[in-house]
Amino acid sequence: MNIAQVIFYVMAFVVIASALFVASSKNLVRSIFMFFITLFGLAGLYVLALADFVAVTQIVIYVGGVLVLILFAFMLSGKETLGILQQQKGKFISVSKLPALLLAALFFVVMVNVVLKTDVNNLPWIKQVTAANAAIKPNDLMIDNIGINLMTRYLLPFEAISILLMMALVGAAHLARKERGAI
C-alpha cells in the first residue's frame, strides 16, 4: 500500500461521496457547488492516471466554464425554480424513486460484473505493453507528445471538433438572442 494508492482511494471516496450528495440534495445551489468538488476530485484522479494535461484542461473548462454557465442558467431561471424544488418533499429513497434506484443499482451490478469478468488487467494488449515496459511512467513528460499527435495523427478529428464547436457557438447564440415578433 504505497502513498499513490492511498491518495487514489481518498480521491475516489471524495468523488463518489460528493456525486451522491449532488444526486440526493434538495437544494440546487448546494448540489451545484458539490458538483464543483466532484469535478476537482476527478481532476485528481486524472493526475493519478498520469494524464496531467487532461486534468488541467478539466479544471479550466469544466470548473471555469461549464460550472459558471450552469450557475448563470440557474440564476436566470428565477425564483420559480427554487419554489419547485421546495415542493418536492420526501426522502432520498421514496416509493416514486424506487424504480430509478433499482435500475441504477442493477446497472451498476451489471457494469461491475462486466469489468471483473473481462479481467481488464490481463487483457492481451495491456499485458504486451506492460511486458515491453512501454506504459506511461510518472516521470515521463507527455505534453509535447500530445501536441505532436494532435497536429499529425489526430488532425482530422481535431478539425472536425473545431467545426462542431463553431456550430455549437453559433447555435447557442442564435437560440439565446432576443426574439423580435413571432418565433
Binding site: 504505497n2 499513490a4 494508492q5 475516489a12 468523488v15 463518489i16 456525486a19 449532488v22 444526486a23 440546487l28 448540489s31 458538483f35 466532484t38 476527478l42 484522479l45 492516471a49 494524464a51 494535461f53 487532461v54 484542461t57 473548462i61 469544466y62 466554464g65 461549464v66 454557465l69 450552469i70 440557474f74 431561471s77 428565477g78 420559480e80 419547485i84 418536492q88 424513486k97 430509478a100 435500475l103 441504477a104 446497472f107 451498476f108 457494469m111 471483473l116 481488464v120 494488449w125 505493453v129 506492460t130 512501454a134 506504459a135 506511461i136 515521463d140 507527455m142 507528445n145 500530445i146 499527435n149 489526430y154 478529428p157 471538433i161 455549437a168 447555435g171 447557442a172 437560440l175 439565446a176
Partner: protein, 101 residues
Amino acid sequence: MITLTDFLIVSAALFCIGLYMIITKHNAIQILIGIELMLNAAILNLVAFGKFDKIANGGQVFALFAIVLAAATTAVALAIILNVYKKYRTIDPGKIDGLKD
C-alpha cells in the same frame, strides 16, 4: 500500484449516479448535471486506458475531445433551457407538454 479495475469501478459508480439523476430529477438543470456526470465517467475510462498508450496517446487526446464536446453540449442545452423558461415559466421537463400551436 493502482490497477485499471479500480478506475473502471469508480467510473461505473459515477455513471450510475448520473443515470439515477437523469431519471428522477424534476429540473432540467439537475438533469444536465446528471449528463455531465455520465460524460465524466466516460472520460475517466478513456484516461485510465490512455496510460497504456504512450506513443499514440489515443486515450488522452480523445478525453480532451470529449471535454470540448461536453462544453459545447452544455452551452447549447443551457440556451435551450433559458428559452423554455421564457416560454413556459418552468423548467420541469414533465410539465413542458405544448407544441408550437
